[in-house]
């Protein structure tokens, strides 16, 4: 729905020459396929898009300002809200950054639990992607199927930390509580349940001729452009670069697990979709391995409530489902960070949208936008 009301065009008089003209369409802030409150200003020639200008900031919640006025522990709940679709990963990034800053050793069991949670959340996040992507292309039913599986992951999280969306599970130096005793068996059950489900999604979408027609060769993003635009995560891998921070700059316990990095070939919408589908399988593999090798021991290093990291700076990045999530922390030795810069994947990925969307139809921009898997709090913060 257009929110800003359009001007009434002048009535056509007889002597006026008829000519075609470009017209501007306002997509958003409330539009079913902008996945939140993003506004895209489309300059169109008929159905063809000449220019896209994203207008963001409708969800700018000044989290970086808040971070300067909260202690390191208190800020954990805000990381949940930066990326609510995969808040475990956002928690994880903050933990990794602060631990790097203060040089905290995390117990191995806690690292394993973090990996399990982060990977389960990656699956959940990709399921949300699948759901909304299918809806963007007009297929409603896969949405319901993806959410059916997501509910099971949410159940696992709820069992562990009591929340369904913003988990606040990780702590600086470990995790908040150990998993309940049924967790391991339930999660194993879930993993074996997931593989055939992913095959089912592929059956309903991947080889569907209409789906192929809507995604193959649409919204090309070549690798040099992707790197220059700082695109990361599945869009970057979809463009053909075998790059995954979990493998290439391992953090937490990721170096102990065996998994593949799926990549695409052309950098089109279909490749980005396929990379995510494959990542779900790989994440399930990591979860299975981590459950097998889950060590006994403590779950939290000793970190005082009035935690004062040494003066200094830290830059840490992790591979979140949407791409690279990084925190740049400046500490002045007090309980509150001096400055926190949050680098989120969606912010940079959305910036590449105008390049990818130019020249395609209005229906394609919906598919391209969906394939980037943007969530707006990550863009606006």
């Amino acid at each position: 729905m257009m929110v800003d009301s359009p001007d009434r065009p002048e009535p056509l008089t007889g002597d006026r020459n008829l000519e075609t003209e470009e017209f501007v369409v306002n997509m958003g802030p409330q539009h079913p396929s902008t996945h939140g409150v993003c506004r895209l200003i489309l300059t169109m020639d008929g159905e063809v898009i000449k220019k896209v200008v994203p207008d963001i900031g409708f969800l700018h919640r000044s989290i970086e300002k808040i971070a300067e006025n909260r202690t390191y522990h208190q800020f954990m709940i805000y990381t949940d809200r930066i990326d609510y679709v995969s808040s475990m990963n956002a928690n994880h990034a903050w933990c990794v950054a602060v631990e790097k800053l203060a040089g905290i050793e995390v117990p191995e069991r806690a690292e394993y639990l973090r990996v399990i949670m982060a990977e389960l959340n990656r699956i959940a996040s990709h399921l949300v992607f699948l759901a909304s992507f299918a809806i963007d292309l007009g297929a409603v039913t896969p949405f319901l199927y993806a959410f059916r599986e997501r509910e099971r992951i949410v159940d696992l999280f709820e069992m562990t930390c009591g929340q369904r969306l913003t988990y606040n599970y990780m702590r600086i130096g470990g995790v908040s509580k150990d998993v309940p005793k049924d967790f391991v068996s339930e999660t194993k059950k879930f993993c074996s349940y997931l593989y055939p489900r992913v095959d089912e999604y592929e059956a309903i979408l991947t080889e569907n001729p209409i789906f192929l027609g809507r995604t193959k060769g649409i919204g090309l993003l070549d690798l040099p452009t992707a790197i220059n635009y700082s695109v990361s995560g599945p869009p970057l891998r979809g463009s053909g670069l075998k790059w995954d921070i979990r493998k290439d700059e391992p953090y937490s316990a990721y170096e102990k697990f065996d998994f593949d990095i799926p990549t695409g070939e052309n950098g089109d919408t279909w490749d980005r979709y396929k990379v995510r589908i494959e990542e779900m399988r790989q994440s399930a593999r990591i979860v299975e391995q981590a459950l097998e090798g889950l060590p006994e021991g403590g779950i939290k290093a000793k970190v005082p409530a009035r935690f004062r990291p040494p003066q200094g700076e830290a830059f840490a990045r992790i591979e979140a489902p949407r791409g690279e999530m990084a925190y740049f922390i400046v500490s002045d030795g007090s309980t509150k960070p001096y400055r926190v810069k949050i680098r989120t994947a969606s912010f940079c990925n959305l910036q590449a949208l105008p390049v990818m969307a130019r020249g395609w139809k209005i229906a394609d921009i919906v598919a391209i936008f969906g394939s980037l898997d943007i969530i707006l709090p990550e863009v606006d913060r």
Binding site: N69, K100, S230, R339, K341
Partner: protein, 162 residues
């Protein structure tokens, strides 16, 4: 390149144009004067051994005590797999620095955000419109540490801060 090699390489290449800072968790960090930034960045991008093709992060930082304001550039090279941290420190009254979006397009939005929230002017920026705040914003630069707005409520002390 390992961080040590990178440090010596950069020192050798730029000599007195850069000033070494304490490393950011293993990443070499350097301070660059605003007037040298363009030249340094050109070399960083074009030198085949350095080859910094990616800009993962760019942000402002404010130091009201020393009346300075800075921009932090986190650079990365996919080709060579090394990191670098650059910093530009300017006086707080009229901070102005060259835009690096011609080297890395990703800097475009980062710089717009920094310009809007910190009041740093980026010269030659291709699209210097505000990015995040409400269209009628007239209350200054909210991310500066001493900023106070008319609608801004500070959190009461909880006792955990001390």
């Amino acid at each position: 390149m390992t961080p040590e090699e990178l440090t010596s390489k950069i020192k050798a290449t730029f000599a007195e144009k850069v000033e070494e800072l304490p490393a950011v968790t293993g990443i070499p960090a350097f301070k660059v004067k605003p007037e040298h930034l363009e030249e340094v960045c050109t070399t960083l991008v074009s030198d085949p051994e350095l080859n910094f093709d990616n800009l993962p992060c760019l942000g402002g930082i404010d130091y009201p005590e020393t009346n300075e304001i800075g921009v932090v550039y986190c650079l990365f090279s996919f080709a060579k797999r090394h990191h670098l941290n650059l910093r530009v420190i300017m006086p707080r009254d009229n901070p102005e620095v060259i835009s690096v979006s011609k080297f890395w397009v990703a800097a475009d939005w980062f710089e717009r955000e920094t310009a809007e929230l910190f009041g740093i002017k980026f010269k030659d920026h291709p699209d210097p419109r505000p990015l995040l705040l409400i269209e009628e914003w007239d209350e200054g630069y909210p991310m500066r540490r001493d900023w106070e707005g008319k609608d801004f409520i500070r959190m009461p002390e909880t006792g955990q801060e001390k």
